[in-house]
């Protein structure tokens, strides 16, 4: 069995296991390459008929191309798309200019997510995070519990061995499910290439620059690159000497911002 097929099969097993164990689940779609890969794997797992909603947490600061792509695919793949926004904070003018990145991410992303989970009584959510994205994400489990305050108790995680995932959930808790943990950045692009997955055009080079990681347009910087096609990108990642998230402002603010955010319930 080749490498990508092995990764894919493991992800599909995890996705199906999560659905069986929790039933009331949803998938978080950021419209980036990882969550779009996750979405594709969900389609495979359920033979094209995903039995749960796909959620986009919209900070309202996303790139236009992302909104276009989102709406197009939702229609084409017949998705049950739900958009979550922290309307109250946006009305107050919350944005990256106001206060710290920690605050902005926390309010517009984490708290918007909390509201969606409460509103739809979700027991678990699927996310496309990977171990190699960030040292903190490398500490994650495939099935990772969150308490009623959305706190991640990283000092006391359940054991996870032999594909046995903890699934007992208390009244107010929910689980984060991470079916892509074992994919690397390179694997994702290789998979995108193999499956011919549609991808937001921002990832491709325009005027000598491209986005290696996308989020809100206010806090993402492009990197120098001439990679115009998937093949170019795959080759570029293979030989890269910098990390994927080096263009993300969040991690620059403070070394432990990501850890703090995640402890409060961030992705």
């Amino acid at each position: 069995m080749d490498h990508l097929t092995r990764l894919e099969n493991k992800s599909i097993y995890i996705i199906r296991e999560a659905y069986y164990q929790f039933k009331k689940i949803a998938m978080l779609w950021s419209v980036g390459k990882d969550s779009t890969t996750l979405l594709w794997l969900c389609r495979k797992a359920f033979f094209g008929q995903i039995p749960f909603p796909i959620i986009h947490i919209d900070t309202s600061y996303k790139f236009q191309e992302m909104y276009r792509f989102r709406d197009e695919k939702a229609k084409e793949w017949n998705l049950n798309l739900l958009v979550g926004k922290n309307e109250a904070k946006l009305r107050e003018g919350m944005g990256p200019g106001r206060g710290s990145k920690l605050d902005c991410c926390n309010e517009l992303k984490t708290n918007a997510l909390k509201a969606v989970i409460k509103r739809y009584h979700l027991k678990a959510i699927l996310l496309g995070i990977r171990r190699d994205e960030h040292g903190i994400r490398a500490k994650e489990r495939y099935f990772s519990p969150r308490d009623s305050q959305f706190k991640w108790d990283y000092e006391n995680q359940p054991a996870e061995l032999w594909d046995q995932y903890q699934s007992t959930v208390e009244e107010e808790e929910h689980f984060r499910i991470h079916p892509l943990l074992h994919f690397t950045e390179y694997d994702v692009w290789d998979y995108v290439k193999r499956e011919k997955l549609p991808i937001v055009p921002l990832y491709f080079s325009r005027d000598g620059k491209r986005f290696r990681s996308i989020g809100c347009h206010t806090c993402c910087s492009p990197v120098d690159s001439d990679a115009r096609t998937i093949d170019d990108i795959v080759e570029e990642i293979r030989t890269s000497k910098t990390s994927e998230r080096s263009g993300r402002a969040q991690d620059k603010e403070n070394i432990y911002t990501m850890q703090r955010l995640r402890a409060l319930g961030y992705m």
Binding site: M1, D2, H3, L4, T5, R6, N9, K10, I12, Y13, R16, E17, Y19, Y20, R43, K44, A45, F46, F47, G48, Q49, R131, D132, H134, G135, I136, A138, K139, R141, Y154, E155, Q157, P158, A159, E160, L161, W162, D163, Q164, Q166, S167, T168, T184, Y186, D190, R238, S240, K241, T242, S243, S246, I255, Y256, Q259
Partner: protein, 409 residues
Amino acid sequence: MSEGERALPIVIVGHVDHGKSTLIGRLLFETGSLPADKYSEIQRSSAMLGKRVEFAFVMDCLEEERSRGITIDTTQTFFRTSKRRYVIIDAPGHKEFLKNMITGTSQAEAALLIIDSFEGIQDQTKRHAYLLGMLGLKQISVLLNKIDLVDYSERKFLELKAEIKDFLERLNVHPTSIVPISAIQGDNVAKPSGKTPWFDGPTVLQALDTFHPLEMEEKPFRFPIQDRYTVDGEKILVGRIESGHLIRGQTLFLLPGKNKVVVKSIEEFLNPNVMAAGCEESIGISLEGKHRTRRGQVLAGDRSSTVSDRIRANIFWMEQGVHHNGETLLFRCVTQEIPCRIEKIYKKFDPASMTLTEDDALSIQNGEVADVLIRLDRKAVVDPFNDIPEMGRFVLEKEGRPVAGGIIL
């Protein structure tokens, strides 16, 4: 080197502070696998804590891990040599975090056991070595670290080497190499050290290159049913092939029970007309005719499975607190979830002391290993671990949390 080949997962285990995280950081650095921005990040946070560049920070990313100087949870990272790619799994060395060490180790196919040459073999060294054996890891290289602290002494190296070989032999574990290193100085990690001219064995990188990925042998077909979906009116059983392979039209046994069934189709999204499927594939199966099927049943290619409500096994306890025989647990083996209890503990011991602590014990706790009889509320379909490991290993849960792992004898 093919990027399409999978990375070989290797776990690094050993007693607390014997140098696991430092070694990994150094390996990444030496192989050019540490991105420049990551290196500056660890430079910064090391300086903040008043340390010189702390390679352990590559893996220890939690603030608590860095400020306390310990690894709390397992982490994985990737690096490559000229031969291939590796996934390196770091495991905590504290007894308190045994379950995190087990979580990490269960994903590996080879291991590096690291021992502080100055301190020598400690409790977790023995416990980890024992668990490596229990978890089925056969490819192990032993690294005698901090050789700089014992003045690069050949005598000290040979002494420790003999001791660890003897210990491992008693566990039926045969290391492929025993290497004197200094992770902090870099001796024998990527390049042979000028300070150990008496040593003619491999460097750590060379030792890693001698490991090979586990081959899949042909075994009897086992497909534990994970769930059932109805897709366009068709009933599809989904799950993963844990061993063997399947051909459309094949006759299978639906266990537990006496029913025989025939495979009508093998279902994969956007892949019509699948004729066969192999080990590790997550697929859908539809059967001819009507059958009462549910999650937890196993579709088997032959009748060699053990179908029983009494299981003899070796278990290792990995949670805090004491468990008494007779208390309710949940047995989880592939997709089976069956309430159970430990009926009898034949023998129990703590690998750290390597002495039998008790015959006919009445309880078990963190760090202990035992030979037990488990009584299940209903029959399970399993295989001995040495025959089909996927069907012969299980987790025990108590009040929703995994508390022990075990292998079926």
